[in-house]
């Protein structure tokens, strides 16, 4: 009887794993099937051609996505981690901490298109003095919209990971006469850093594929542009436009773009994991 139960649970667990992994593999294979044939060097080094002309690539969109995500990470990661540290280490049960936690959870549930509209209403439509990226569509406003979408995920995972650090380790640091702030930054955060990095990567991967917030902020651009104060192309935007077009070669490019987007996200996440895992010591949990 016990063996039967054991086998049943094992089988169910394997089944669940297959159900989780299957769609991912299916999507990837389908993308390879539809997109790989349109992938060539041109895709990575050329900008889109006008309607009717064959060829062209998405070099500007790849670069644009990179720029947007860099801006988003510069905003989202430090603010998110800082807020998470506050929640776990300094605010704890206080009223302010509860308010921040609630706000972060609500922000996490706000649909991405609403984030885009909010960014549009606050920084794209009005011209704000001394901020050259406001008053029109721009790369910076797109990055800001994505960055604010990263904050809640980064903040809450940071908090949870910090709370998982055993109390004994904090006591060890305090017992050595280390000031509390130093102990938090050098011991607690460092101990929790693998989990915090995972949280940042999750947030990064999530916003990397966002289209809706960019429609109202970065807008998209058919030309090569690195000007942060001007509209900029992004892979998800380009895919969206191309996929909705009536042209077959644009459809193929959209498939290729989707494939490239996913591969780039996987590469970026793996790179961060590789870099941060170096220097981890033997036996460190």
């Amino acid at each position: 009887m016990r063996t039967v139960a054991d086998h049943t649970v094992t089988t169910l667990a394997i089944l669940a794993t297959v159900i989780v992994v299957a769609p991912l593999i299916a999507i990837f294979i389908y993308l390879l099937y539809m997109g790989a044939s349109s992938l060539n060097l041109d895709f990575f080094i050329k900008v889109p051609k006008p309607v009717g002309e064959a060829g062209g690539g998405m070099a500007n969109a790849i670069l644009g996505s990179g720029i947007l995500l860099a801006i988003a990470s510069i905003i989202g990661v430090p603010i998110g981690i800082g807020a998470g540290i506050f929640l776990a280490e300094f605010g704890r049960g206080g009223k302010l901490a509860q308010a921040i936690r609630f706000t972060a959870d609500v922000l996490n549930g706000v649909p991405s298109i609403v984030m885009g509209l909010a960014a549009y209403a606050l920084i794209v439509a009005p011209k704000i003095p001394f901020l050259p990226f406001t008053g029109h569509f721009s790369a910076v406003s797109g990055g800001i919209a994505l960055g604010f979408m990263m904050i809640p995920t980064v903040c809450r995972t940071t908090e949870e990971m910090l709370l998982m650090v055993p109390h004994a380790i904090r006591e060890a640091a305090l017992g050595l006469g280390v000031p509390n702030w130093r102990s938090v930054l050098s011991i607690t955060v460092k101990t929790a850093s693998p989990g915090i990095i995972t949280g940042c990567m999750l947030a990064f991967a999530r916003v990397a594929g966002e289209t809706a917030p960019l429609v109202f902020t970065a807008l998209g651009n058919n030309f090569w542009s690195t000007n942060l104060n001007q509209p900029i192309a992004a892979l998800p935007l380009q895919i969206y436009v191309y996929a909705l077009s009536p042209y077959d070669d644009w459809h193929r490019l959209a498939w290729a773009g989707s494939l490239v987007l996913i591969v780039l996200i996987v590469l970026a996440v793996s790179l961060v994991r590789f870099v941060t895992s170096r220097g981890v010591l033997k036996g460190a949990s």
């Binding site: 055993p166 004994a168 380790i169 006591e171 060890a172 640091a173 305090l174 017992g175 050595l176 006469g177 280390v178 000031p179 130093r182 102990s183 050098s186 011991i187 460092k190 101990t191 850093s193 981890v280 010591l281 033997k282 036996g283 460190a284 949990s285």
Partner: protein, 252 residues
Amino acid sequence: MGVGIEVVNLNAWYGSNHTLQDINLNIPANHATALIGPSGCGKSTFVRCINRMHETNPIARATGTVRIGEIDIYKDAKPVEIRRRVGMVFQRPNPFPTMSIYDNVAAGLKLNGYTNRRSLDEIVERSLKNSALWDEVKDDLKKKSGASLSGGQQQRLCIARALAVDPEVLLMDEPASALDPVSTSKIEDLIFQLKSQYTIVIVTHNMQQAARVAEKTGFFLNGRMVEFDSTHKIFTNPSDKRTEDYITGRFG
């Protein structure tokens, strides 16, 4: 060198729970003093009051006077300064898991802004030798994490870490209760050697351990100190009936 500890009318609370009541005692310098008593009697709270770790719990507070050498720790100094002079070893070994063995020992100095590499190397070596761990780890100092050591080794690493900041007093809160007998006897040998240089206060549940390592023993019960005397007297001819009942195993 160690310094003596003078405790006058020490009271401590956790929330509304009065865990230490009117404790008065003098702990001699450069000796080991054992604190025994049943669980929840306040002996751990007492040692945590000596380095002001007690107050890291937001609901805890303490009143009274604790003098370490010339310093009244609740009046004349900040908690972080006291904790550098009064090292602590906890019940469960708690090395920093992300740090190498070397960095664990150097942590107290590095995190307080001490960066001289050469003397750090010397201090780490001396501290590990003082905690009888050097020979076992000298080849992996910077390669292995503190968490990769065995439990007994981890506890000696924690002792080395406490010694590296050059304290005058070493508090040990049941330092061997999570360890096997071999590791326990190593820790006891260590206490024997260390007491020539440091004042040691050790909380223990193991009465043989108290008898083996300490010159003085205090018996705590229900938040009060019932008796404080030479270890020999406590274990052979206690003056209080409750002490006798406890050490003969009639309760606790």
